[in-house]
């Protein structure tokens, strides 16, 4: 028996879902079992990986035994761990939900795609090679597009197409930046790039290109045009994983590149990102408030919440690691809360046959678990204590006030108020009786509980901050030096 400290958890996180995807592609009858078992094994693996990181510190692995710059390096620190844990938590809920959600024909496609997507996300969070990241980005993008279109229907197909074009454009722009960096510094490894980088026109061009590509995928205002259509029209579990995980994946790469390569030269760029973030908060929240359809409301709320992540950039230089802890926490709690919201919205849509907010028709009594999930997740999105969203936003707000960025602070507060408004709008209608009452459909328990458990987790995050921050510190991801 190999001692568990020597089990290569990091590599398993990538290989396991790949092998499982192949298995359920070849034998679709095994798909559901394989999917559920793999998800549980992945949870175990993230646990093992966390334990390993805590004992041994930074995870570094030269794939193929070839040291960088020739080979590809796997790299895992506290930030990678947070992203992996986020993927697993949301993944568990989505797996539970999807088990009952898809019919047999859809399941045959869903499970291999979902497992490949998990593999791609894990590979993305563990890669320190900017070309390898390009491939994982393409995997993530293509899998997501296929998933959005899975159930067909005019809106979903249009949304998927728009998303595909946006994601391909983003990847190619990113790749052009990779090409310039490689040909300037002779490596695609992030650690080596951090050592070799200087202030040259190439770095500025790479920042512009890779930044634009990744921000398009992250849907930062004004590059968010593709998001509402895709996120709102996809099947519910897919909407959840798009909003919870996918936008975070490209944001994660952007954050890494920023911390390692671009932060020293980008003071003005940071300010621009902050301003775009602020506009995103206001615009996204306002649009969310105006929507009459529940899933579109949740999708625009994502546009707004992405804004918060970028507000941190101009504050970071003075605030240091604690601010990035806040951003990471915000990512995590938004992922859980937004996934819960989309799953709950999916239940309401399935239950009533529509997602018109004005006709939610006493959902509180008729579908109490899902409505509770929506409301609880809403608490975290609003940033009310004691939720996880509160911790993240509080750290941001504190830094903004301390540094005298009053405008940003005000925008964050207004964003919170607008969020309360659109959440209460939904909850309010959920208490009201409406005129038209279509025949309700029954919702499987698993689908209701998946939403509620995620929502509860997003609230509980409000109590785990010190512990999570300690884990985040492994490998000093926000130290500002080499990753």
């Amino acid at each position: 028996m190999v001692p568990s400290s020597e089990i290569p958890w990091g590599a398993l996180l990538i290989l396991l879902p790949l092998a499982a995807a192949i298995l359920c592609f070849v034998w679709p009858k095994l798909a559901v079992v394989t999917g559920v078992v793999t998800m549980l094994l992945l949870t175990l693996a993230v646990g093992g990986f966390a334990w390993q990181l805590q004992r041994e510190g930074l995870y570094q692995h030269a794939v193929g035994g070839w040291e960088t710059p020739l080979g590809i390096g796997l790299y895992g620190d506290g930030l990678s761990l947070l992203m992996l844990a986020m993927t697993v938590l949301v993944g568990l809920a989505i797996t539970l939900y999807a088990r009952s959600y898809f019919n047999q024909k859809q399941a045959r496609v869903f499970w291999p795609l979902w497992l490949l997507l998990l593999a791609a996300l894990n590979a993305l969070f563990l890669s320190a090679d900017i070309f390898n990241l390009y491939i994982t980005l393409e995997m993530v993008g293509l899998a997501a597009v296929a998933l959005v279109a899975l159930k067909g229907g005019r809106d979903a197909l249009n949304g998927a197409m728009r998303y595909l074009l946006a994601t391909l454009l983003g990847s190619l722009t990113y790749l052009l930046g990779v090409a310039l960096l490689y040909h300037s510094y002779g490596t695609v490894d992030l650690v080596l790039l951090a050592e070799r980088i200087d202030n040259s026109p190439v770095v500025w061009a790479a920042l512009g290109l890779m930044g634009a590509g990744l921000l398009l995928k992250t849907a930062l205002f004004p590059l968010h045009f593709w998001l509402p259509a895709a996120h709102a029209s996809a099947p519910a579990p897919i909407s959840a994983l798009l909003s919870a995980l996918l936008v975070k994946a490209s944001f994660y790469i952007f954050l890494r590149l920023w911390l390692v390569l671009f932060a020293p030269l980008g003071g003005d760029v940071a300010l621009l990102l902050g301003l775009l973030g602020a506009v995103a908060i206001l615009w996204g929240s306002w649009q969310a408030l105006r929507q009459t359809r529940l899933k579109l409301l949740v999708a625009y709320s994502t546009v707004a919440q992405i804004g918060y992540l970028f507000v941190a950039f101009p504050l970071a230089a003075a605030a240091g690691a604690m601010l990035w802890n806040g951003v990471s926490y915000l990512m995590l709690s938004h992922a859980l809360a937004k996934a819960a919201m989309f799953l709950a919205a999916g239940n309401l849509l399935l239950f009533g046959g529509h997602d018109r907010i004005a006709e939610l028709d006493r959902a509180v009594q008729r579908l109490p678990i899902s409505t509770a999930a929506f409301a609880l997740a809403g608490v975290s999105i609003m940033g009310v204590p004691p939720s996880g969203g509160f911790i993240g936003k509080w750290l941001l707000l504190e830094a903004a006030i301390e540094q005298g960025y009053w405008l940003l602070a005000a925008v964050m507060v207004v964003g919170g108020l607008l969020a309360s408004a659109y959440i209460f709008k939904v909850v309010g209608y959920a208490f009201t009786r409406s005129t038209a009452t279509p025949e309700p459909q029954s919702i499987p328990m698993g689908m209701e509980w998946a939403a509620l458990l995620l929502a509860i987790a997003s609230i509980l995050l409000g109590f785990t901050a010190p512990w999570v921050f300690a884990l985040l510190g492994i490998g000093d991801p926000f130290g500002g030096g080499a990753p």
């Binding site: 592609f25 794939v63 070839w66 710059p69 859809q106 291999p112 491939i135 995997m139 061009a205």
Partner: protein, 311 residues
């Protein structure tokens, strides 16, 4: 000597301008059929550019995949569009001067950046040369693809599988063509298919030491299958179910299995040097098969199934 370099420079300049002109023509053509034909021509010119840039491996991949298969995919998709969609007036472009200006500035900026790069840079060629002996193959591109950066290739095979899953879930089965294809095409295909299989085998084998390898071989093999499909051979009826799926995953599965085995030695995808050559050949054979069948299946555009299988 002077005159020869001048001629070559003139050739490069003409080729470069030709590429830009063709790109403009194909993107701005009113007629979509013409655009697709021009795209294939563009791909062939690209292959010529790769040869000029001493990248024969890429030239082969471009000619087979970039121009050949993409062209076939585009044609097949065009045939499925409603006919009035195929030739449409272009959008009104008068209002786009601001965009043009912005893109011109971006291009100029990028041009300046590229110009600012040093005229000579070794890249990783020294590292490759130093480690080539223990990589198991003599062609540096194959060494990078299947050994030094084999992990990229593993993920890339997954991208192909992903795309196929997407196409299968979205594609709509179409009835096979009714009209007979005629003796000329049948004879042509009968003659070309064995030849293409031979070429694919050669490319696969030669890839260890010379330009070629799994991707090029797979693409040529896929071309043979596309030809057979076009000539009305019922490949989609012959190759279905588990047999088809096993062929599709042969490459990725071998790769993942090898990754798992190497992981037992604690080093992901590290081949023992004395076996590296054989392992790479094994990987390449499996990958060629999968790439070929996947590309052909992508061209077919829907999931082939036996009558018994559920929809």
């Amino acid at each position: 000597m002077e005159k020869v370099t001048l001629l070559i420079m003139l050739f490069d300049l003409l080729l470069g301008l030709g590429l830009l002109w063709l790109a403009w023509q194909l993107l701005e053509s009113r007629n979509l059929f013409k655009a697709v034909v021009l795209f294939v021509a563009f791909g062939l010119l690209m292959a010529l550019a790769w040869v000029r840039l001493d990248a024969p491996d890429v030239a082969l991949a471009e000619a087979a995949i970039g121009a050949g298969l993409t062209g076939a995919l585009l044609m097949a998709a065009l045939a499925k569009l409603p006919s009035r969609d195929k030739s449409e007036p272009l959008a009104d472009e008068k209002g786009h001067w601001l965009l043009r200006l912005a893109l011109l500035l971006v291009a100029a900026g990028l041009g300046y950046v590229v110009h600012s790069l040093p005229e000579s840079a070794p890249g990783l060629s020294a590292e490759i040369a130093n480690n080539l002996a223990s990589s198991g193959v003599n062609n540096p591109v194959t060494a990078v693809l299947l050994n030094f950066r084999g992990y990229d290739t593993l993920l890339e095979l997954m991208v192909l599988m992903l795309a196929l899953l997407g196409v299968w879930s979205l594609g709509i089965e179409r009835s096979t063509r009714e009209e007979p294809v005629g003796p000329v095409l049948t004879t042509l295909v009968q003659f070309l298919t064995p030849l293409l299989i031979l070429v694919a085998a050669y490319l696969l084998w030669a890839g260890a030491d010379a330009p070629g390898g799994a991707f090029q071989a797979g693409a040529v093999l896929a071309a043979a299958m596309v030809l057979l499909l076009l000539a009305g051979w019922p490949l989609q009826g012959l190759l279905t179910g588990v047999a088809l799926r096993l062929m599709l995953v042969a490459g990725p599965a071998t790769f993942v299995a090898l990754a798992g085995l190497t992981l037992l030695d604690a080093q992901l995808l590290a081949y023992p040097p004395q076996h590296a050559g054989k392992l790479i050949l094994l990987l390449e054979v499996a990958a060629t098969l999968s790439i070929a069948v996947t590309l052909a299946a992508l061209f077919l555009g829907y999931r082939p199934r036996t009558n018994k299988e559920p929809g």
